[in-house]
C-alpha cells in the first residue's frame, strides 16, 4: 500500500503538467466545474464539501479514486498563505499505521475559484466525525478510562511509536483531529492528518505546552515528540474528564494558569483519577519537557510496569512581587510574557535595577542574576538605536523564561517557525517590517541560546545568514531571499506567477511558460524569482547572477536566457515556445550589442526560427560563442577605417575642386601635350613621306 502511495506521489508532475494554465482557464470558464481531475486517477468534487474535515482555512472536499481498492477519498485544498508540510509528507506517506489517515497523494491542482493553482493533499476517507466539534473550546467527554484503553490509548501509543521511528512530529493531536472509524477494528479511533498547514497551526493552545501556546499559530515551528506526547496527554485528559475547570478562560488565562498551577491542575483539578491512568496522565502532562514521559516511559507503562509519578518541580515563585505598570508579578515567566505589552515600563525596571534586585532578594537565584547581568552587558554593547526597549525585553525575557518564544512587538514565534510565519504575514497583509527588524538585530540569538536547542548553532548561523541577506540590495538578496531561505517549503511568491504554485525551479519555468502564453509580462524575472531560484537551484543561477543584476539591459537579458536555458537543458524539460516568444520580443537590447545591422537581422531571423521550437538552450547557444561578437567587432573597426579613408578622399577632392581655375589644368595640359606630340608625329611622318615621294626615292 505504501509503495502504491509513493508511486502516486511520484505522479505529481504529470498532474502539474496537465494543470498549468490557470490564467487561460480563468478567462475561458468562470463557472466552477462539477469535478476536477487531480491526475488521471482522482476526481475532486468542488460542490461536495466535507466541512467536518476542514482545517481552518483549508477546506475539505469529497474525492473519488478511479481504479483503486478504496475509491472513497477526500481532498484538503491548502491556503496559499499557509505553507503546507511538503517535506514531512514524504515521511507521512511511508507510515503504515491504520490509526492514521492514509495519504494517497499530494501535489498542485488548478482550483477553479479563484482560478489559481493550490497545493492539495488527497487522503482515504475512512473516518467519520471527530471526537469533539473543533469549535468546542472547553471540551469534556467524561469517558471511563477502561473504555478508551483499547480504542484510544493503545492505538495512539503505537502510532506515536511509529511516528517517532519515522522521525515525524505530528503536531495536531487533539480530539478535534481524532476521528471515529477508520482503518482500525471495532471502535478504534483514527488520527487525522497534519500536513496541510504549518505544524500545530490548527492546534488549540489548550493542547500545547506553554512555550508553544505562546507563539502565533503560524510561528510555532516544527515541534518535537515531547510536544506530541503532551498533546496526547491533554487529549486523554479531555476525553476522560467530566469537568472543565478552565471554562470561561481566555487562551492567555489558560497559559497563566498552566504556569502558576501546572497543566494537570489546570485541566483536571475537578476530576479524580486513580491507578494506572493517573500515572499516565501525570507523566504526559509534566510542564517541564525534561520530566515529561518519554516514549520509552509510555511503552513501559503500557507493558504494565508502574512508574512512581515524579513530583513535578514547581516553577520559581518570588517571595515578594515586582510591580510593572501597576501590576504585581511573582512569576518571572509571567513577567517576561508581559514585557512585550509594556516595553517602556519593562525597560524602566530593567535599567533602574529593580529587576536585578527582585531576582536577588525575592527569588534568591544567583544563577539567574548572573545570567541577567551577562545578557544586559551583551545587549548594551550592541547598537541601541530605535526600538531598543523591545529588543531589551526579548533578551531579558529569554533569561526569565528560557523556553519562551520570541515576543517582539506584534510578532510571536519560535525561531524554528520564523520562515513559515514570515511567509504567512507577507501573504496575509504584506507588512513584514518587524521581521526585517528581527533579522537586522541580534536578539533572536538570545532566545536560541537560552533554549539550549540541539540545533542552536545551526539556527544561529541561519539568522546570521538572514542578517547578511537583508543588508544586501542585490536582486537575489533582501527580504525575498530570506523568505525562501527560512522557509524552504515556500512556493515562489512572485507577482509574475501569482496564479501558479511553483515549488521547484522546474515548476517555475513551466509557470512562466503559462504566463507568457496568456500575456507577455514586462519582465520575466523579479526579486522573488531570482531569490527563489538562488535558494533552490544555486548552481544554475549563481554563475549568471552578475549578468542578471547588471545595469546593462543586454546582460540582464542574457542572464535570464541562460538561467532558463540551463534549467531546461539540465532537467530535460519540454519546449517553451511562449518563453522563447518573450525573449524574441525583448531581444532589442541584445541585438543592439551587434554593430552590424545585417548581423542583427540574421540573428533575429535565427531566433524567430528557434522560437517555434521553444528551445531556449539553442537560443542561448547563439550568443554563447565569443567569435560571433569578435567577428562583428572586427568588421566594425574595419568599416570605421574605411569610413575614415572615404572622409579623407572626400576632403582632398573638395580641396582640389575649391579652385575651379586650376582643377584639372595640369592633367589637361598633359593630355594636350600627348595630343600635340601625336599630331606632330603624324605631320612629321606625312611631310617626310610626301618629300620622299616628290624626290622620287
Amino acid at each position: 500500500m505504501a509503495e502504491q502511495t509513493t508511486k502516486e506521489i511520484q505522479t505529481e508532475e504529470d498532474n502539474e503538467v496537465e494543470n498549468n494554465q490557470p490564467q487561460q482557464s480563468a478567462s475561458h470558464d468562470k463557472q466552477i466545474p462539477s469535478e476536477i481531475r487531480f491526475n488521471k486517477n482522482i476526481k475532486i468534487y468542488p460542490y461536495q464539501r466535507l466541512s467536518y474535515l476542514d482545517k481552518g482555512p483549508v477546506k475539505a472536499y469529497s474525492a473519488e479514486g478511479l481504479n483503486r481498492t478504496n475509491n472513497n477519498l477526500f481532498a484538503l485544498v491548502c491556503d496559499r498563505r499557509l505553507t503546507p508540510r511538503r517535506i514531512a509528507s514524504q515521511k507521512y506517506a511511508n507510515m503504515r499505521n491504520l490509526s492514521l489517515v492514509k495519504l494517497v497523494t499530494s501535489g498542485k491542482i488548478l482550483w477553479p475559484d479563484p482560478a489559481e493553482e493550490k497545493y492539495c493533499f488527497i487522503y482515504e476517507l475512512t473516518i467519520s466525525k471527530p471526537l469533539i466539534e473543533p469549535t468546542n473550546k472547553y471540551p469534556a467527554m467524561g469517558r471511563k478510562p477502561e473504555d478508551i484503553i483499547d480504542s484510544v490509548v493503545n492505538p495512539m501509543i503505537d502510532l506515536l511509536t511509529d511516528m517517532a521511528n519515522k522521525d515525524l512530529v505530528h503536531g495536531e493531536i487533539w480530539p478535534g483531529n481524532i476521528f471515529y472509524g477508520g482503518g482500525g477494528v471495532g471502535d478504534k479511533v483514527t488520527l487525522g492528518e497534519c500536513l496541510c498547514l504549518p505544524a500545530s497551526s490548527n492546534l488549540p493552545p489548550l493542547y500545547e505546552p506553554v512555550e508553544r501556546a505562546l507563539a502565533a499559530p503560524e510561528g510555532k515551528g516544527g515541534g518535537s515528540l515531547s510536544d506530541d506526547i503532551y498533546s496526547f496527554g491533554v487529549t486523554l485528559a479531555v476525553i476522560m474528564r467530566s469537568n472543565t475547570p478552565e471554562k470561561g478562560m481566555t487562551a492567555e488565562e489558560i497559559i497563566q494558569s498552566k504556569i502558576e498551577k501546572g497543566s494537570y491542575t489546570t485541566l483536571l483539578k475537578d476530576d479524580r483519577f486513580s491507578g494506572a491512568i493517573l500515572e499516565l496522565l501525570r507523566g504526559l502532562l509534566y510542564d517541564d519537557p525534561n520530566q515529561r514521559w518519554t516514549l520509552e516511559d509510555i511503552q513501559a507503562w503500557q507493558d504494565g510496569r508502574r512508574l512512581s509519578p515524579k513530583q513535578s518541580s514547581p516553577r520559581i515563585k518570588a517571595g515578594r512581587p515586582i510591580l510593572m505598570e501597576k501590576k504585581k508579578y511573582t512569576r518571572p515567566e509571567l513577567l517576561s510574557i508581559d514585557f512585550v505589552n509594556y516595553p517602556v515600563e519593562a525597560a524602566k525596571i530593567i535599567e533602574n535595577d529593580d529587576l536585578a534586585q527582585w531576582i536577588d532578594r525575592a527569588i534568591e537565584d544567583k544563577t539567574l542574576k548572573t545570567k541577567l547581568e551577562g545578557v544586559l552587558k551583551e545587549i548594551n554593547n550592541l547598537d541601541q538605536g530605535t526600538d531598543f526597549n523591545h529588543r531589551l525585553c526579548v533578551a531579558v525575557g529569554s533569561v526569565l523564561f528560557p523556553e519562551m518564544p520570541v515576543l517582539y512587538k506584534s510578532l510571536r514565534f519560535n525561531p524554528r517557525g520564523f520562515g513559515k510565519y514570515m511567509t504567512y504575514k507577507y501573504l496575509d497583509n504584506g507588512s513584514i517590517q518587524e521581521f526585517t527588524e528581527v533579522l537586522r538585530n541580534y536578539f533572536p540569538s538570545f532566545v536560541i541560546r537560552s533554549q539550549k536547542m540541539h540545533d542552536s548553532s545551526a539556527l544561529n548561523s541561519k539568522f546570521d545568514a538572514g542578517r547578511n541577506f537583508i543588508k544586501q540590495t542585490k536582486m537575489n538578496m533582501g527580504l525575498e531571499r530570506c523568505l525562501y531561505y527560512f522557509n524552504p517549503e515556500c512556493q515562489c511568491l512572485s507577482p509574475i506567477v501569482e496564479k501558479y504554485y511553483p515549488i521547484t525551479p522546474e515548476d517555475l519555468v513551466e509557470a512562466l511558460e503559462g504566463v507568457c502564453a496568456s500575456r507577455l509580462p514586462k519582465d520575466i524575472f523579479d526579486r522573488h524569482i531570482v531569490s527563489f531560484l538562488s535558494s533552490k537551484s544555486k548552481n544554475n543561477i549563481d554563475p549568471y547572477m552578475a549578468d542578471i543584476t547588471a545595469s546593462e539591459p543586454h546582460r540582464n537579458y542574457l542572464g535570464r536566457l541562460r538561467v532558463l536555458a540551463t534549467l531546461q537543458r539540465r532537467s530535460r524539460m519540454k519546449p517553451f515556445p511562449s518563453i522563447a516568444k518573450w525573449f524574441l520580443k525583448n531581444i532589442d537590447p541584445l541585438l543592439d550589442r551587434f554593430h552590424d545591422d545585417k548581423k542583427k537581422k540574421l540573428v533575429k531571423k535565427e531566433v524567430e526560427r528557434l522560437v517555434y521550437k521553444g528551445d531556449l538552450a539553442k537560443i542561448a547557444e547563439l550568443f554563447d560563442s565569443k567569435s560571433i561578437f569578435e567577428e562583428d567587432l572586427g568588421g566594425f573597426y574595419l568599416s570605421m577605417r574605411q569610413y575614415k579613408k572615404l572622409d579623407e578622399e572626400k576632403e582632398k577632392l573638395l580641396q582640389k575642386m575649391e579652385d575651379a581655375r586650376t582643377f584639372g589644368r595640369e592633367s589637361g595640359a598633359q593630355v594636350a601635350s600627348l595630343f600635340g606630340l601625336g599630331i606632330a608625329a603624324i605631320v612629321i611622318v606625312i611631310s617626310a613621306y610626301v618629300n620622299f615621294l616628290k624626290d622620287g626615292l
Partner: protein
C-alpha cells in the same frame, strides 16, 4: 641673399661633367649643322618664348606648342637637309613669309590645341570628381546604415566599440 648666392653657385656646380660635355657637344653640332640650327632657332622662336614665360608646372603646355611648332618646321628642315646648298635653302626659307607663317601658325595651333584639350579635360575631371563625391557619400551612408552613426569615429568608444555614455551629462 647670401644663401641664394650659395644655392646658385651650387646649381652651376651641379651641372657636372656630363652637363658640360652635353653643352660642348651641342655647340659642336650647332656649328656642324649651322643651317638646321639657324632655321630651328628662327622657326622655334614661339616655343623658346613659351618656355621662357610659362611657369615650370605648366611645362607640358610648352611641350604641346613645341611639338606642333617642330612639326611646322620639319618640312623646311627636311628641305634644307635634301638641298645641295643648305645655307641658301635655309635663307630662302627664313626669308619666305609663308614659311614663317606656317612654322608660327603650327605653334599657334599647338597653343589652341593645348587650351582646348586642357579645358575639355578639366570639365571631364570636374564631372568625374562630382560623381566620385556622390559615390563617397553613398558609400558613407551605407556604412552608417549598416554599422550605425558610431562608424564615423567621432564618438569616444569603449573596448567593445560602443559609445561611452556620459552619465554626468544625462543622469
Amino acid at each position: 641673399m647670401a644663401k641664394k648666392k650659395k644655392q646658385k653657385k651650387k646649381v652651376v656646380l651641379n651641372i657636372g661633367f656630363q652637363g658640360w660635355l652635353f653643352i660642348f657637344a651641342s655647340l659642336i653640332m650647332a656649328i656642324v649643322f649651322m643651317a638646321s640650327t639657324l632655321l630651328l632657332l628662327v622657326g622655334m622662336l614661339p616655343t623658346i618664348i613659351a618656355a621662357l614665360i610659362i611657369q615650370y608646372k605648366y611645362r607640358s603646355k610648352v611641350l604641346t606648342i613645341g611639338a606642333l611648332n617642330f612639326a611646322g618646321c620639319f618640312p623646311y628642315l627636311l628641305n634644307i637637309w635634301m638641298s645641295q646648298d643648305r645655307v641658301s635653302a635655309m635663307l630662302d626659307a627664313i626669308s619666305n613669309p609663308i614659311t614663317i607663317i606656317v612654322m608660327y601658325g603650327a605653334a599657334g595651333i599647338g597653343y589652341v590645341l593645348n587650351d582646348f584639350v586642357t579645358k575639355a579635360v578639366k570639365v571631364m575631371m570636374m564631372q568625374s570628381a562630382k560623381k566620385r563625391l556622390e559615390a563617397i557619400e553613398k558609400e558613407k551612408k551605407n556604412l552608417e546604415d549598416r554599422w550605425g552613426r558610431k562608424v564615423r569615429g567621432d564618438l569616444p568608444l569603449d573596448e567593445k566599440g560602443f559609445p561611452i555614455v556620459d552619465n554626468s551629462v544625462n543622469p
